[in-house]
Subunit: 211 residues, 2 copies
DNA sequence: TCAGACATGTAAGTCGTTACATGATTCA
DNA sequence: TGAATCATGTAACGACTTACATGTCTGA
């Protein structure tokens, strides 16, 4: 049996929303998950094939009204079952490589000045990211009230629902999206806090006057 | 020319401390960088070969006094130069895949109850990790005062230095190590904060009474 | 009509893990 | 003596990116 990794279930997860093409999936990830996920065609198309081979999806070539022609993939009951199973499994917490920490560790006691300057740069990056995320948050938040997506943010265009249900779906989706942005903001802020602590300690080591 | 990735420079960075074997490097990473880096023999030995081929390191087979025999690798001037260059380059900030966020996004509006339970589990994991890191912090911190490593924490055993210089080296290394633990703690706390916010919002959505 | 977006795919290569193979040395 | 650990490696596989190839459709 083929190996089922995170990409496998990520794609299956999108198909559980509604039937999609590989192209749709790529767009969806790029537009709405760009901060914490990415995927390439080199993964998508072969994985879709394997999903069909595994009986987790079916394919309908060429279909689509009004739109250009796309190869749509639809999740099967078996696929849905496998997805539900994976969704409820605890998060895999294996190491997240952290280049900043690696450089700190490797160079920290050899060249403090350079390390400090590196941390300063890092803080700059994180500060910028935080600002960017705050803007995105503010642009998205109104949809929570209105139930209508702002301008270009129509990543989830659900099957047409009647007015009230449609608005509710938009609100739910918006809340999820805001939560993910919020996570990015908190992460950036934690890093900024760390940078400040680290710079301060490296500039004035607590053992400075010890022999 | 062979590709030079992070693993390449990670290994080179260790060699810049003192000559080491592949086995030493593996141990060092496992013991002191385990929270934010990992490396396997399948990477180490081939990379060491490539470092030698690139002129960044030399090898001395069999050497070692009192110890078992090991193949030691020593960084060259050229290697040191390349390392310095890499060390001063800004941190690569490309996406960090985040399984929690992926699952939130995929399942959030389909099955809120399951998502909440997933977040609760995640919070549990992060709380545990935070506790573990706090313990490690407390165990390591005394070395900042004493200039002597606690019990089994002798990852950096520098070339023998005279008393005062030796203590100073230990203090510097300890500070770096504490900073990296601190980063792990801040990261875990940011995640815990997010979990609380997320659960609260998912349980009581701000749009609950809207039509 | 033709540039640009839409849409689908493959090939080659890097990166990393796991499992396996091999042998030396230590010490209970 | 034999189990554990020290020590060095390779092979196979999976995950992911990049670059390429190919063709369609839309609108200025």
């Amino acid at each position: 049996m083929t190996k089922k990794g995170k990409t496998w279930f990520a794609i299956l997860g999108f198909l559980s929303w509604k039937p999609m093409s590989g192209y749709d999936i790529k767009n969806l990830v790029d537009i709405s998950l760009s901060y914490f996920w990415s995927i390439s065609y080199g993964q998508i198309y072969p994985t879709l094939k394997r999903l069909v081979a595994a009986g987790y999806a079916t394919t309908e070539a060429g279909r689509s009204i009004g739109d250009r022609k796309r190869n749509l993939f639809r999740i099967t009951n078996e696929g849905q079952k496998a997805l539900d199973d994976w969704m409820s499994k605890p998060i895999d917490l294996s190491i997240q490589r952290d280049e900043m920490q690696l450089k700190l560790f490797l160079g920290g006691q050899r060249d403090t000045a350079q390390t400090i300057s590196l941390i300063r740069d890092f803080k700059g990056q994180q500060t910028q990211r935080r600002a960017q995320l705050l803007i995105e948050y503010d642009e998205t938040a109104p949809a929570l009230e209105s139930g209508e997506f702002a301008d270009d943010i129509q990543w989830l265009e659900p099957e047409r629902l009647s007015g009230a249900r449609q608005k509710q779906a938009v609100r739910e989706q918006t809340l999820i999206f805001l939560l993910s942005i919020r996570q990015g903001i908190l992460k950036a802020e934690a890093r900024i806090t760390w940078c400040d602590e680290a710079i301060s300690l490296l500039e004035n080591p607590p053992y400075a006057n010890k022999s």
